[in-house]
Symmetry: C2
Subunit: 268 residues, 2 copies
Amino acid sequence: MKVAIQGEAGSFSHEAARRMVPGCDIVSCARSVEVFDRVQRGSVAAAVIPIENSLAGSVTEHFDLLLARQVFIEREFLLRIVHNLIAPPGVRRADLRRAYSHPVALEQCRDFFVRNPKIQPTPFYDTAGSVKHVIESGLRDAAGIAGAQAAKVYKGHILAAGIEDDKRNFTRFFLVRKTRRILPGANKTSIAFSVKNIAGALFKALAVFALRDISLTKIESRPLRGRPWEYVFYADFLRGDDQPARNALRHLGEVADLVKVLGIYPAA
Amino acid sequence: MKVAIQGEAGSFSHEAARRMVPGCDIVSCARSVEVFDRVQRGSVAAAVIPIENSLAGSVTEHFDLLLARQVFIEREFLLRIVHNLIAPPGVRRADLRRAYSHPVALEQCRDFFVRNPKIQPTPFYDTAGSVKHVIESGLRDAAGIAGAQAAKVYKGHILAAGIEDDKRNFTRFFLVRKTRRILPGANKTSIAFSVKNIAGALFKALAVFALRDISLTKIESRPLRGRPWEYVFYADFLRGDDQPARNALRHLGEVADLVKVLGIYPAA
């Protein structure tokens, strides 16, 4: 089964895809729009995309693509983010003067750099890409910081594992397909909606859930692309495809300009 | 007046700071926490920070720092984001084979790369930093993509101006100070609040505004740092420091665990 991810092989998306679809073939895409294009064209069976990190927040581009494209969330998965110091074979820890990684990953490993002042944190545009870079460039004084999958893919050595400061660092991933499929046990729904005027209208929109004792687990406003400071709302609630949820969504249709069900799936 | 910004000189934050505080001295900080540290210590008079982009969404780290630190928003400002192709002096457009910039900026200039297939978009960790890099490295076949301020700071030549696809690209900036000051004409308030259980509780929290006809212009949930999947809400509403706003905030205090006023300021 072919699964598209955004970014280099060896990334956290790669790790999540392997865990969600064991034995899948990874199709690595440079940009997120390509990932969604491939799902819609059917050149891959599914995509695995990060949607939210417990420290860094939402991957807003992916919310926007879920709204814009005809795709459907089938599953969610929580991946513990473990950062590792990965060097070319033969390079020792004492040799290191620089560690490349994405600025967010460097920021999440601050204590490591305080304890290792000889190693300079060096921003790079991607975590797995930083490992690829140090290994393909044959650097002898540099390492990359990335998930363990990057060491496997680029044949690097893990010189230090789990160097992130905060162990409560999780990323939530979605498995996305072209066709709508609701798995048994689906008890969570992701929706997007927009309302004319945010004042009383958002209050009315939330009433459709509150009046039916349906728990929202997330709500986020996002600017509408190309319409500065107009917003669409992304929300998750804890119900599957049952009668109260259908009633709430019908009611939401009365007060909202746009309602789209992005997926109904088992809560991770 | 000293104003701290995150990132290299020549960045969009630098442009915004110059527009908000003409003649200010820029203090460039590598990390956002340093920016807030300096404001709290008093080693700068203020900071100018990006908070939200109309295409890319919120700068979530800055919302979290506004909540965590004892600082106060005094003003907001909307900067039109204009991307420019900036090369070392003497380099001609026909010489270019690569253009470095932050992946978000490269993505916002897609049409330019379609029209100029000989120029390869190359990810770099920072927009202004990419201009600094091509000029300091003396590259003869590369440019950076950044705001016009970067050309001024690093003495680069703008070979093409306004190469972004979507002209409706704005970033909202805050001027942040250590002490609370409410300017004349302040008619907008930013708050953070958290509620015990998101279900009915968020609905009750929004009721305090809806019942008083107070317009919310933004609401966003953010995970609480280190407490996976617990949320704090950031909201803006269109009132200054008047009686209805005070009543609403007192009422919000009855239904929310935490309420913090982040700032009261004139709407941009």
